[in-house]
């Protein structure tokens, strides 16, 4: 394989072709060759091409120290690499040069550090380099550097089938302790179902007994387990601490610089029927946050041959839903799982088939991208950050909206992000992602979610408070919807994250919902007090309680929770009529829920367990409300605040017991004024048609 691949450019062709041609045909090709030579001469004068030629032709054993020519050519190559990136041929030549150690080990590391690809990395070069790796003369630190480089440019390798073919070869390196973490990471990216063999599992387990339960070994074993659960008998925790670490430090900034220089790439939204954008591979330069374009695993040349084994159809070739349905049983997922996020067809397929390995890989990539960008970002300019970050998060949000649920990696990311969030960075997106998290068990919800949110809530502005209220309202809605669907499915968990789902009983779910409603009640009461019962915040709070009051009727959850006094009284005594009206509506819905729950309890004889406390509270609220608004008997019942009569008389408010009824309530002032206007208009009407006014005390 190594000998027949022609890697080098025109200069080599010139030397070899001349000797291959026979004497008779030489004359006929003379004119052609002359023209070729002219062109090549021009090209060969390019210093970079000369440098490449030098590196491809240099003899083994040439000394490095004091060799000015090598130094000069290295500098040329490095300059080009850092400015525009190296072309695929240049990468092949330089990689071959470095890994074959033709000029000793000192240059190898230097070359590896400057191998910044401009577009693609040819996989043959990588495979050859892996071959060189096994020859055994490269120092360990350089070997590690090489593997790190492969991991960094993994997405840019044009096809992966040859790499997969040498899977066993790569696997053998796992026994070297220094290389083990990186090799495990590489294997994680390359593994398919066929690669999981019993002897490999055994070897990994043996390593584990030697090295301990390392996260990289556990991650690889969990992937093996997902593919072939019968082969891996180990119990693996569903979430593994830290997984694989990020290895791209020496190249990261240079890669970003090269990709930025190449021009931004427009990302399309989720298209309804077609798959992702088909771009010319030459122009495909992606920012590191952008979703990769979907490609097939097998390289383009092999696609033209009819694949006799399995007739697998790569996902990228499907363009409509009908095609998806036809080929459902033989679809092959792309190598880069992140590209699935852009295409609705792919997402529908993923949702339907529930391929655990695909989900694992997708979660892995997504978690990695989120961590890289938002949690461990470097000192880059923040504006650059938000330009890429916003479309990425928007795309993630629309994906979650499409699938009607969130990813587990985004949940883990959010918990960590909330602890370092300032409350305003990417606020709409973060709150949107937050509302999509699945039900959190009540034992952990306080530490994970409530604490950071409380700290943010009480120190932020009114708009943040409103935004958070809305987010928690959406979260509750989604939990209730999930529950109502889940309950109907009779123990069939249909969520996307089924392999890591929590086994939640009804009582566990009710606990979590209770915790959430209590928490929002506390936030609402205290927030209203701090903001002086601002009507915008009140409206968002009442939105939440409109959801809560109908939990039984609309979503079938046997739970009724009353709003706290800190929400009820500000709404009752609000100065705008809308709040009072909404409160009345909420009270009405509570009554409907209570009565239907009671009747159901009588019918089915099932212990519903509506808390007596809740019923008492409801009755109390209703009595207060009616006394206030209708009976003009305010202050005669204990409202949680007892005002003595002498104090009320001191206030010199005339008829204080009627001060908040329908006629005198400050919220309905506008209606009273309107009424008087109409009365005045009616006075203009002739006597025969005069209205007889109602009994309304006008004061």
């Amino acid at each position: 394989m190594a000998a027949t691949l022609s890697l080098t450019g025109p200069p080599d062709l010139d030397l070899s072709s001349a000797s291959d041609l026979s004497v008779s045909s030489r004359s006929s090709n003379r004119s052609l060759r002359v023209a070729e030579k002219e062109r090549k001469k021009k090209k060969a004068e390019d210093p970079f091409v000369l440098a490449l030629k030098y590196f491809s032709d240099v003899e083994a054993g040439t000394p490095v120290n004091g060799n000015d020519e090598v130094e000069r050519n290295m500098v040329l190559v490095e300059k080009l690499a850092y400015s525009k990136g190296l072309s695929p041929e240049a990468i092949s030549i330089m990689l071959e040069f470095a890994m074959s150690l033709r000029m000793g080990t000192s240059l190898c590391a230097r070359v590896l550090k400057c191998l910044i690809p401009a577009t693609l990395v040819p996989q043959e070069a990588v495979v050859r380099a892996v071959v060189w790796l096994s020859v055994g003369k490269i120092p360990v630190s350089t070997q590690i550097l090489f593997i790190k480089w492969v991991l960094t440019v993994f997405d840019m390798i044009d096809a992966k089938d040859q790499l997969r073919a040498v899977y066993g070869f790569i696997f053998n390196f796992v026994t070297e302790e220094n290389l083990c973490p990186f090799i495990c990471h590489l294997l994680y990216l390359l593994t398919r179902k066929e690669s999981v063999r019993v002897f490999r599992v055994r070897k990994l387990l043996e390593l584990q007994s030697r090295l301990g339960r390392q996260p990289f070994l556990l991650s690889l074993l969990s992937l093996y387990k997902v593919f072939c659960p019968e082969m891996v008998m180990l119990s693996i925790p569903s979430r593994i601490k830290s997984g694989f670490r990020n290895h791209n430090m020496p190249w990261k900034s240079a890669l970003i610089a090269v990709q930025k220089g190449a021009g931004p790439h427009v990302a399309a939204g989720i298209s309804p029927a077609s798959t992702t954008i088909k771009t010319n591979p030459r122009k495909r330069k992606r920012c590191h946050l952008e979703l990769p374009v979907m490609t097939s695993v097998v390289s383009k040349e092999a696609q033209t041959e009819p694949s006799s084994c399995g007739k697998v159809v790569p996902l990228v070739q499907l363009h409509s839903f009908a095609q998806l349905l036809e080929n459902m049983h033989r679809i092959e997922l792309p190598a880069q799982m992140g590209s699935l996020l852009g295409s609705s067809l792919a997402l529908q397929y993923l949702d339907c088939v529930q391929d655990e390995s695909a989900l694992l890989r997708l979660n892995f990539w997504l978690g990695y991208a989120l961590h890289e960008e938002f949690l461990f970002c470097g000192d880059r300019g923040a504006s650059q950050n938000s330009q890429e970050a916003l479309p990425f998060l928007d795309r993630l949000l629309s994906t979650q909206h499409f699938l009607q649920e969130g990813f587990s990696c985004s949940e883990a990311f959010l918990y960590k992000f909330l602890n370092v969030w300032d409350g305003s960075l990417l606020r709409p997106q973060i709150l949107g992602l937050l509302s999509n998290i699945p039900v959190v068990p009540s034992a952990q919800i306080r530490q994970l979610l409530f604490e950071p949110l409380m700290q943010l809530f009480f120190t932020s502005s009114l708009f943040f408070k409103c935004g958070l209220m809305e987010c928690l309202n959406n979260m509750l809605l989604k939990w209730l919807t999930w529950h109502s669907v889940y309950a109907l499915e009779d123990d069939l968990d249909i969520s996307l994250n089924s392999h890591t789902s929590i086994n939640m009983t009804l009582s566990g779910f009710k606990d979590s919902v209770m915790e959430l409603v209590d928490f929002v009640g506390r936030l609402a009461s205290l927030g209203l007090q701090l903001e002086g019962c601002h009507s915008l915040l009140l409206s968002f709070v009442l939105d939440f309680y409109e959801t809560v009051c109908d939990m039984f009727m609309k979503y079938g959850l046997p739970l009724v929770v009353m709003p706290p006094p800190g929400v009820f009284y500000p709404a009752l005594f609000a100065t705008d009529p809308v709040s009072v009206d909404r409160l009345a509506y909420i009270m009405h819905r509570y009554k409907v829920n209570f009565t239907s729950a009671k009747s159901q309890e009588e019918l089915t004889k099932q212990a519903f367990h509506i808390s007596r406390q809740m019923v008492r509270e409801f009755n109390h609220y209703i009595i207060v409300m009616v006394n206030c608004l209708w009976n003009s008997k305010m202050f005669q019942l204990d409202m949680g605040l007892s005002l003595g009569e002498d104090l009320l008389l001191k206030s010199k408010v005339p008829q204080y017991w009627a001060s908040f009824d329908l006629v005198h309530h400050p919220a309905f002032m506008s209606y009273a004024v309107d009424f008087h206007h109409r009365q005045n208009e009616n006075k203009m009407v002739p006597a025969s048609k005069r209205y007889t006014s109602n009994q309304c005390a006008t004061s």
Binding site: R239, Y415, V420, S424, F458, T459
Partner: protein, 229 residues
Amino acid sequence: MTSRLPPRGNVTTSYAHSEKKRDGSTVPATSPSVRARVRGAERSSMAPLRPLSRLPGLNSANVLLVESEEQFQQRLADRLVEETTFTVNVRLAKSLPLPVENEESRPRIDLVVFIINLTSELSLQSAEASVKCLDHRYFLGKVSFMVTNARNVAAPGERLDAVRKLAASLHCALLFAEDQTPDGVTNATERLLTILKVAAGLVPMTTALYLSNLTRGTALRDIDQPSFD
């Protein structure tokens, strides 16, 4: 039901009413003349800052920003004095204790904010040392910590844990700020003003102690991987 603060009457420019003053950070001189100027018999030259030693100003609040690197505090101060509903006086310092010379002219400080840059160890150490020079009555809600660069990869996790522990043990609010963008600075200003209004007594029915109970966190943060097994 809503209470509104009276708007500032005849307002000129923000600098006319609000002021920025820099308190030097030199070690206070222990010369006898300085000591003689100081009121009170047993006042030492390293007198801790006291919250109730002066009367409050009308419709105004004073905040002290302490930052050993002196970078972020300048931008914050510029935004803080732009507040119009009440007068904000900002004082800047590199570290505590503040020099005794200015003690006469210094108004009552309502809120002390320690700004810590997580990428530098010195910043944290300086804040820890300065905290010791505050009177204990400040820790009833009149101190808060503001942390920048929390999402930076160069900031080790242990440092953030140490800051969290410090804030939790002192019952102080811990705020995170993005100091690289103007939006981040505006947001940090808003959050500081929310706490400052309460600390200066400008929010009815709310005291600084009350708010500090709501905003204080715990030091335990084992959220690296929530295990749902």
